[in-house]
């Protein structure tokens, strides 16, 4: 058995999602290799070589791979698949984009968002917004899966695998990168954060989001999350949406403020260790899954909470 893990990175930095996917790969048994596809991502390949339990790193360097567009990734990965019994990528926006192309080309069904590996051919994944967990046995000779990283621990970094170059032979010419608008922030990334402060429709404006949710997050060193309603209304950008169709998170502490707790939102955060809900409606469904609920008006509660946190050593940060 040999497993290929496709690394998540931005050409500069290897993302933790990769380490978690390596853990999942290890549970399948056999050798684990990592593919780093990018442009000028040598440092990423070196970092990947340090992940525990990795046999070797394949490094593909080409202009066409800079943004890991799906068409180029398909062209790169499909020929490499001959040498592997399973191909895994994290279930990130990037993995979700190219992996089904790889699966279709190999004529296999992709296993999406795998949360548990029960055996070499048996996998569990959430369906219906996490309201059910389906365990399936795959009859495909090769497995193609995306891995939900919140349920696997990150592999360590004490290895020293070799790095080998692989060629990109072209094939992704029908699509090209035009531009990106990426959020720049000093806050932790949502999917890796220990604490998340999340705001909903009740914030009522982007101004309030900035004046209330963000300072509270900064005081706690937390990432900022949001409900779909808050994103749709433009209070904050799309990459902050938590839920069935947004990001799935599982921090130590998730504070949901002015969020009702629709199943689509819960699907993205109910594996958090501790959930706090602040809502003025004591019947709000979010309270049914919250460890600590506080009923009241967020506009009054947030400033109070900030004061209380300051008393226990979380100093308020000056606005950026």
């Amino acid at each position: 058995m040999a497993v290929l893990v496709i690394a998540e990175h931005d050409n500069a930095e290897l993302k933790d999602a990769t380490h978690k996917t390596v853990t999942a790969a290890g549970q399948l048994g056999g050798d684990v290799d990592i593919l780093v596809a990018g442009k000028g991502a040598g440092a990423v390949a070196e970092a990947a070589a340090k992940i525990d339990g990795v046999r070797k790193v394949l490094h593909a360097d080409a202009d066409a791979l800079e943004h890991q567009l799906a068409e180029a990734m398909e062209a790169l990965v499909v020929p490499l698949a001959d040498n592997y019994d399973a191909i895994l990528a994290p279930a990130t926006a990037s993995g979700k984009n190219f992996m089904p192309r790889v699966a279709a080309k190999l004529d296999v069904m992709q296993l999406s968002d795998v949360v548990a590996i029960e055996g070499a051919d048996t996998f569990t994944r959430p369906i219906y917004a996490g309201n059910a967990f389906m365990t399936v046995k795959s009859k495909d000779a090769k497995k193609v899966a995306t891995i939900r990283t919140t349920t696997f621990a990150a592999a360590g970094e004490s290895g020293s695998a070799s790095v080998e170059s692989v060629d990109y032979a072209g094939g992704g010419e029908k699509s090209s990168f035009v531009g990106a608008e990426l959020s720049v922030s000093d806050r932790p990334e949502l999917t890796g954060a220990k604490i998340i402060v999340s705001g909903g429709r009740a914030l009522a404006s982007s101004d309030n989001f900035e004046k209330l949710i963000e300072p509270l997050a900064d005081q706690l060193g937390a990432a900022v999350g949001a409900s779909r309603a808050a994103v749709d209304a433009g209070y904050i950008s799309n990459d902050h949406q938590v839920g069935q169709t947004g990001k799935v998170v599982a921090p130590e502490l998730y504070i949901a403020i002015g969020i009702s707790g629709a199943i689509q939102h819960l699907a993205g955060m109910k594996d958090s260790k501790i959930i706090v809900a602040i809502n003025k409606d004591e019947e709000a469904p979010i309270f049914q899954i919250a460890d600590y609920g506080l009923v009241g008006d967020l506009f009054k509660i947030i400033p109070e909470l900030q004061e209380e946190l300051a008393k226990v050593g979380y100093a308020a940060k000056a606005p950026a």
Partner: protein, 249 residues
């Protein structure tokens, strides 16, 4: 230019899903079924393109039971021109859906196929990408904006760090994200008109695809239950509990 929009009949997003006690699946008896919300967004986008003159015809297609005609009629009422039902009572996996759609694309020759990014029942998020690969077409997934540029497309995509824009040579595949548009409600006159629009019914065999399911369901279980905790009265009590009881501060 013709736009093809695959739409799926799924359990309504407001329904509380229940797992069957024998763990063979979820209970779909007598529950409200609807068009997958991401497919509604796809239909809306295609209809807007036709209204703006950048598309001539919008064809919707569903692979599913006889009753999926309801969702196709809804799409027609929203403004689609013509519908195709590929009738089956089997569960069709995304790979087979993609193969069936490929055969329909080859017959219809659209310049663009717009799908939902994900069906809210299986949460697979893969059919559009698979169809793109099988056709050898480029894709713009998780779209929040689609612009036509001659025979080509510029698609803005929602990605983990923000937004990305890609250029695609047509014909191409787009999958919709939530912010692409807000689907219209069909008006009563349009619902009446939709009843007269063409809806062809065919069998899977007519598409030349032989179903080959790859996944055997071992079981469908309830997710781990999370119990409600306690209500606290003040922010001071909250902070104290988070610090001493929960140990997360």
């Amino acid at each position: 230019m013709k736009v093809l929009v695959p739409v799926k009949r799924v359990i309504d997003y407001n329904v509380k899903v229940r797992v069957k006690p024998d763990e063979t699946g979820v209970d779909l008896a007598n529950v409200k079924m609807s068009m997958n919300p991401f497919c509604e967004i796809a239909v809306e986008e295609a209809v807007r393109m036709r209204e703006a003159g950048s598309a001539e015809e919008v064809v919707v297609v569903s692979i599913g039971p006889e009753k999926a005609q309801e969702q196709l009629r809804q799409a027609l009422a929203m403004g689609a021109d013509r519908a195709i039902l590929v009738k089956t009572d089997e569960t069709v996996e995304p790979l087979d859906v993609a193969k069936i759609l490929k055969s329909i694309v080859e017959k219809e020759g659209p310049g663009l196929v717009i799908l939902g990014k994900q069906a809210i029942d299986d949460d697979s998020n893969q059919t559009g990408q698979m169809l793109a690969a099988l056709l050898g077409w480029p894709q713009g997934t998780f779209a929040s904006k689609v612009e036509k540029d001659g025979d080509n497309y510029k698609v803005t995509r929602e990605i983990d760090g923000g937004l990305q824009t890609v250029a695609l040579d047509g014909p191409a595949i787009v999958t919709t994200d939530l912010r692409l548009n807000e689907p219209r409600y069909a008006s009563l006159p349009n619902i009446m008109k939709a009843k007269k629009k063409p809806l062809d019914v065919m069998e899977i065999a007519d598409t030349g695809v032989a179903l080959s399911p790859r996944l055997e369901v071992v079981k469908v279980a309830e997710p781990p239950k999370r119990e409600a905790g306690v209500k606290v009265e003040t922010t001071a009590e909250l902070v104290s509990k988070l610090k001493t009881e929960a140990g997360v501060l």
